[in-house]
């Protein structure tokens, strides 16, 4: 049967509709209609897809906020290197098919953030604190464990609406607004069904969670409250397993944590003491993680279980030394730009490097 040629307006209309449909199809991981016909789509599978998309959106929002706050460290080669190490460790994790994106943020404090959906941020300070690639791999393994086991996402999902709102408000305050600006904060808006529908249509949001609230609450968890000791211990154990599985030295995370404490002026044997004494929380890491001695003790149990003494792992110092030199060189340039002179910063860098070596409980490679 011959078909009528549609008129110009219809052409435009269909083109518009096609563009809209194309736009909606290209957004994220919607099921391909050619593979899964709508009436055959498994409800559970659809739910999983929607949850994965929600996880990605929350994580992207959180990572964006963190990078906006701290700023990204402007060294593409370093970021590429961190991604290489991180994704290598991720291959030996419980979720080798997941995608992880690693970024270095510009802060001298030692910390790393695992945002849902695979967005992992590590501070420049954390890389500086590491003395070899194995330590970096363990730290990234810890964060990979958080993401892979959806520690943050599940924590947010378990929160009641009131709790989510409370944490979101705390998250807003955690963004460190000056008091003079806080008076300008207006009430946190309620997301209405209509608003959510519009947002869903525009942004493709598909989760049951209020994504923005969840992201804000996530900020409070990541900056203030923490995931809780149990999940941190689990991430330490899993991260250690992943890194060791990838061939890295088993005790690297213990070395990293102990060096961090020593650099903060604590005694060399502090981290090895099985103490439960509370110390003053000075950093975000202190507030959001169990004390280093308890973490070290926990890691030791997993090392014991995997008979770590019998494992010969690589420390990967050679490549890491080059990376550190690059960072120190960049820091020196930055100092020069600030007009502080390079000699001081070089001296400081050397001094820091000296401290790093001295406090490495493992000593030399």
């Amino acid at each position: 049967m011959p078909m009528k040629r549609p008129g110009g307006c219809l052409h435009l209309l269909s083109l518009g509709l096609a563009t809209m449909l194309l736009g909606s199809c290209s957004f994220g991981a919607k099921p391909n209609s050619e593979i899964l016909e709508p009436n055959k789509v498994d409800v559970e599978q659809q739910k999983k897809i929607e949850e994965a998309r929600a996880e990605m959106e929350i994580g992207r929002n959180m990572a964006g906020r963190l990078l906006k706050f701290y700023g990204a460290y402007p060294d593409e080669k370093l970021v590429r290197y961190v991604n290489e190490v991180g994704n290598f460790v991720a291959k030996y994790s419980d979720f080798p098919d997941r995608r992880y994106m690693f970024e270095v943020y510009n802060s001298e404090t030692v910390n790393a953030f695992a945002c849902p959906g695979g967005y992992i941020l590590i501070s420049l300070g954390a890389i500086k604190n590491a003395s070899n690639e194995a330590e970096l791999a363990h730290v990234l393994g810890h964060e990979i464990a958080h993401v892979g086991h959806r520690h943050m996402f599940n924590t947010l999902n378990k929160m009641s609406k009131d709790e989510l709102d409370k944490q979101a408000a705390a998250g807003a305050q955690a963004s460190e607004l000056p008091e003079e600006s806080k008076i300008r904060l207006r009430p946190e808006p309620e997301e209405s069904t209509l608003g959510k529908s519009i947002a869903k249509y525009i942004g493709g949001s598909a989760a049951g969670l209020n994504l923005l609230q969840a992201a804000k609450a996530g900020m409070s968890v990541i900056m203030e409250k923490g995931l809780g000791a149990e999940l941190e211990f689990e991430a330490d154990q899993l991260g250690t397993r992943y890194a060791v599985g990838a061939g890295f030295h088993p005790k690297a995370l213990i070395n990293f944590l102990c060096r961090m404490e020593t650099n903060r002026g604590r005694p060399k044997d502090y981290c090895l003491k099985e103490t439960t004494t509370q110390v003053e929380a000075k950093t975000i890491l202190d507030k959001t993680h169990p004390s280093v001695p308890t973490r070290v003790a926990n890691i030791k149990t997993v090392l014991l279980a995997m008979k770590a003494d019998e494992i010969i792992g690589a420390k990967g110092k050679k490549r890491f030394v080059t990376v550190k030199e690059r960072i120190n060189k960049n820091s020196g340039l930055a100092e020069k730009e600030k007009g502080k002179g390079s000699s001081d910063s070089d001296a400081k860098a050397k001094e820091k490097a000296k401290i790093s070596t001295e406090t490495d409980p493992e000593g030399k490679e």
């Binding site: 003079e180 600006s181 008076i183 300008r184 009430p187 946190e188 808006p189 309620e190 209405s192 947002a199």
Partner: protein, 413 residues
């Protein structure tokens, strides 16, 4: 209709030609998403892109980067000249559906802590008027026809930067390029049954361009915020084309048809405005809670000397409140003045310009969603004044109202 006023028109020769567009009121349009609702009392707040207009220093206190736009969905103005034609009123109407504001703000804390930048395109004045009056077959008059068409706008294109010097104090600067464009065309045709006629075609075109440089400061203490802005405006170019075609066969001595006489003028005036006023705006805002704020501005504009557009100094006031009925629905109300900068109309003088002082009221509701909000509402301006609408010594009382239904949307990111 009464014949007396019609005859009066004819006896007067022509209707007074004072259909100039409005360079004499500075608050005909209130722009900016929140500022509209607050009646323009925004100097101590100005923490969105409209800070380019109200106080660039406020940009440094912005809580987020955003992009916003607002449009006058419906704008209607009615000016009633009381007992202008005998005991009858004369009414003029104008309208507009123009976009008065579009702007964006970007926080640049990662580049330099406390730094923000913004851009804005805004209309300070915008009016369309199509007036058509026709009178036919009364007494000796066969036809009187008068049409007026006005298209007037003053638009600014601005960039601003602000820096927080300390947690409580910020400074900002905004530079806008102002474009003034006013086109007035007025046609009058009077035909008498005895063959006498008078026709007049009068047209003016005012154009201008200038720089508007605003320097602002904002200081916050406790739940209070204070703002101060000075706007220095410099004309870079201006022009005023005045054209007149006048034809009549009226013999003024006998009152009957005589020889044809005509006047044809096409003047190009180089400095019609000469200067633009300097504005000083001071404001205070009080934030007693997250649900409520109150703001108040005093705005002073200096006088400008010009043969064609002489403007007196004027001080306007604006005050506004914002109250969140629910966390997603803010209600904003404002009251503001929009005083005339033309001299008062005095008895014993002729050919005086209108003088109409307005008081404005605004009422806006918002709908806030995470990262975005829309607002809609109404602005009403109620004016009272005096005029000499018809050539001669008579003075008319004027009542004017304008209604603006405006919509705005903002997205924060």
């Amino acid at each position: 209709m009464r014949s007396t006023w019609r005859l009066f028109i004819i006896a007067s020769g022509l209707w007074g030609t004072q259909a100039l567009a409005d360079q004499y009121h500075y608050h005909n349009l209130i722009v900016g998403e929140r500022a509209m609702g607050l009646g323009g009392a925004f100097a101590a707040i100005s923490d969105d892109a409209s800070g380019v207009i109200y106080n660039p220093a406020g940009l440094a206190f912005a809580l987020s980067s955003d992009i916003s736009g607002s449009a006058n969905a419906i704008y209607s103005k009615k000016t009633v000249y009381k007992k202008t034609i005998g005991s009858d009123d004369f009414t003029e109407r104008s309208s507009g559906t123009l976009s008065p504001f579009f702007g964006g703000l970007q926080k640049l804390d990662s580049t330099m802590p406390g730094l923000s930048m913004a851009f804005a395109m805004y209309s300070l004045d915008s009016e369309l008027k199509d007036q058509d009056d026709k009178i036919e077959d009364i007494g000796g008059l066969e036809r009187f026809h008068r049409t007026t068409n006005i298209r007037a706008s003053t638009t600014g294109y601005g960039l601003a930067a602000a820096k927080r010097i300390s947690a409580a104090f910020s400074v900002g600067v905004a530079v806008s390029y102002l474009v003034i464009d006013e086109l007035v065309q007025e046609y009058q045709d009077v035909q008498y049954k005895n063959g006498v006629f008078l026709t007049q075609n009068y047209r003016t075109r005012l154009t201008g361009g200038g720089l508007d440089t605003a320097l602002g400061a904002q200081y916050a203490v406790g739940t209070w915020s204070f703002g101060l802005t000075t706007r220095l405006r410099t004309l870079m170019h201006e022009g005023y084309d005045v054209g007149l075609d006048y034809r009549t066969n009226l013999d003024s001595a006998t009152g009957v048809a005589g020889a044809l006489s005509k006047i044809q003028r096409d003047d190009k005036i180089k400095e019609p405005l000469k200067s633009l006023p300097t504005e000083i705006r001071a404001g205070v805002a009080w934030y007693p809670s997250a649900l409520f704020l109150w703001s108040f501005d005093v705005i002073h504009n200096t006088a400008t000397e010009s043969v064609y557009f002489k403007r007196e100094a004027v001080t306007n006031f604006a005050t506004g409140t914002e109250y969140y009925i629910t966390p997603s629905i803010p209600l904003r109300t404002g009251i503001f003045t929009n005083y005339d900068t033309r001299p008062d109309v005095e008895s014993g003088k002729q050919n005086q310009q209108d003088h109409i002082d307005y008081i404005g009221y605004s009422l806006f509701f918002g709908w806030v969603q995470p990262n975005s909000q829309v607002a809609g509402g109404l602005m009403l301006q109620d004016g009272k004044g005096k005029a000499q609408k018809i050539q001669g010594p008579n003075i008319q009382t004027v009542e004017a109202q304008s209604y603006t239904f405006a919509l705005s949307a903002t997205h924060s990111f």
